[in-house]
Symmetry: C2
Subunit: 424 residues, 2 copies
């Protein structure tokens, strides 16, 4: 008779050991790829000052942030809350430790963030996010945008056995420049929002939304033609020309940057895995140049599995120093969940441990330990079963936890020879 | 000019990348040893229900627990707080998932716990704890006590380059039985408390504390003689006899269990690394049998670096099922701090990345990427430097982040040959 509800709070991921092992292995692969690409790992506190965490926030963030009650012993502290992403603590970290860091600072953070949002299937209140960022001081060459995009691609495909991944890449300067040229920059926020939704609605709805802003029909055609541009590097070069001459320096800068990013990805052998795609906007006001997201084209329902972009200034709320950056994030908790739900993670029927050693009696513990330690030195995970059960029950237990078993009886202890049996 | 205080909240560990790399490596070593000894990794949510977390708590725990304010979107949830250790969430986890686990359940948890205590040097409010536990259903052989003790020893000595580690081991049943035999079990809590402090005060103070309980002088001699017993297995066997015949089944059970644990550790080649020590009590009411702690005898000021013991019932507040367990915990955040403060962690003057590749111009990016990817496949961490700086500045940056550098110029790109230079 259970006395108390022992389920975790709704919106928390809690895995059984075999699934946890798959999750851990994916997380480890991501970390290894980030490291091999020269990103340095840091950790920031989970609890931070509310004024830091909300310095730039608004909207959902303020509604969803978990505030922390000070205890009697921490009553003198500033107001505190749980971090909801890695970007704000990174901004604080970079400003705080600026003199001890080398710029460009290539950094990765892997850890849980916290969002107190309404409980719904596939959404998590504690979520592992795996971020990479490159932070420059004063300036940051565009080549780092390609580096971040390539690193995340390699990380994702190394951590999971994924169907084809498509990277969709754009540069927000292109649309910003187009709107400058059309004298529509007053409506930039609205138009970015409309294009952000262009794939979720019919072309008619997009047109109507633009008409509601009183945009002339010729400009509407230009905008919708623009939003429809996607394809390979050579294709989008051609298609952007169909817009006519756009005489705006921001537009030209955006096109140049985008082409450079694509060129660098091509050099890295990733030509078949990306398209340039003008529908990619990535939210309304954070990113200022390159933007990207990754999808699984064979699984349209999954949506974006990774995204990021270039930002002009990481920490304008904390310092006058200009710190441009480019970064991206893999929402590991959600990704793990959604890949599982789509049968894209191999079911682990495999037992978590390599070998279970079954000594037949206490007299064999000594030799059992010796065998265990030898196997551990060979890199195996080994359990010695000490329960006082019948041999059949010990085998039943062994087959639940281990792939192979070794029985150690009097004979084995004497001859120092043993047999390894497969358990299945 | 800094606009805002960007330091982390007091009591939070925030490391620069080179120290973080050392910390990560220690954490990884612990995890690897736990895994090689057959412990399965799980993670529980950081946020849990307050009634779960405080089901058994009292004293400092209630004062130091961080409660979490529900957001507008989670208002219907139960009251919530941050976990302050791994034991309570483990109890909830084992009861919740009992039917999906194999018992004995050998489990490890590595993660941050949260304690809102007064800020002081060397104490942390966010602290990594690395726990191993073995949970039985109904019963759990004493051999698992030795297994936990040995695993923690191997983990500690593999994760850090430590001076000699001494394991001090006792069994609380021995003192409990002695007090039964002396008809002093009414004062058990007080006497356990006095012995827990015996090393912090003079023998006179210990004697006076016992006199205050109106214990007869003969019994006081027995208790102080008992508390002074420590040494090798054979030594304590002899010394326990000097107490005279203690005719109590709990006493005899404790001695038998202790000797079995010591015997098993001896079999594992750990004879020179432990003593039995009757001064070890480990708090007042949680542990019921084996208790242990690890010290560095050459660094008496450091105190215990790891501890744990046997408990009769993991989850009596959550279930009627009896779940005896044995476990121990390494407080990694504190340990890392205190080893550093005692110069027991090698200063990392080493750059965090293996190789920095310096292409002399954009034309060499292609070959630079090729070299980088080849080296990454060999397991190296490699950064390609894309900054538009003078070669001298690039080398200066490279020497901060990497151990070696490769310059890629026109010649290297043409001949596909390059030189690896040490940076120091």
């Amino acid at each position: 008779m259970k006395k108390i509800n022992t389920s975790p709070i709704s919106g928390m991921q809690e895995l059984l050991p075999p699934s946890q092992a798959v999750f851990d292995s994916a997380k480890h692969s991501l970390a290894q790829i980030f490291k091999s690409h020269g990103f340095q790992h840091i950790e920031t506190p989970v609890i931070d000052r509310t004024d830091i965490l909300l310095a730039k926030a608004g909207g959902d963030t303020e509604k969803q942030i978990y505030k922390v009650v000070k205890t009697a012993e921490t009553a003198d502290d500033a107001d505190q809350a749980l971090r909801f992403d890695h970007t704000v603590p990174l901004a604080r970290y970079v400003v705080e430790h600026e003199n001890d860091l080398a710029f460009p600072f290539k950094v990765t953070q892997i850890g849980r963030n916290f969002r107190g949002e309404r409980a719904q299937k596939g959404r998590f209140r504690e979520l592992y996010q795996c971020d990479v960022d490159v932070i420059g001081r004063g300036n940051l060459p565009i080549a780092y945008d390609a580096e971040v995009i390539a690193t995340l691609y390699h990380a994702l495909t190394s951590a999971f056995d994924l169907p084809p991944v498509l990277m969709r890449i754009s540069n927000r300067k292109i649309l910003t420049g187009l709107l400058n040229a059309l004298n529509l920059n007053n409506f930039a926020t609205e138009i970015f929002g409309i294009i952000d939704h262009v794939e979720k609605v019919t072309p008619e709805v997009t047109r109507e939304s633009l008409e509601e802003l009183n945009i002339g029909s010729e400009d509407i055609v230009k905008i919708t033609t623009f939003a429809d541009i996607h394809g390979s590097k050579s294709e989008i070069e051609k298609k952007l020309q169909t817009l006519g001459i756009v005489d705006d320096p921001t537009f030209n800068e955006g096109v140049t940057e985008l082409l450079e990013v694509l060129e660098l990805l091509e050099q890295q052998g990733l030509k078949d895995h990306y398209i340039a795609d003008m529908r990619i906007v990535r939210g309304l006001d954070y990113y200022t140049g390159t933007v990207f997201e990754y999808i699984l084209p064979d699984y349209a329902n999954i949506g974006s599995i990774c995204g990021g972009g270039r930002y002009e200034n990481l920490a304008s709320n904390f310092t006058d120093q200009v710190l441009p950056g480019v970064g991206g994030s893999i929402g590991l908790t959600r990704l793990f969940y959604i890949l599982g739900a789509n049968n894209l993670i191999k079911e682990t029927t495999e037992a978590p441990i390599d070998i279970a050693i079954i000594p037949l009696s206490h007299s064999e513990y000594n030799y059992a330990h010796q065998v265990a330690n030898e196997l551990r030195e060979q890199g195996k995970s080994v359990d010695v079963i000490f329960t006082d059960k019948k041999l059949g029950d010990k085998f039943k237990y062994a087959s639940k936890i281990a792939k192979q078993a070794i029985v150690i009886g009097e004979e084995e202890a004497k001859t120092k020879k043993y047999e390894v049996k497969d358990l299945f």
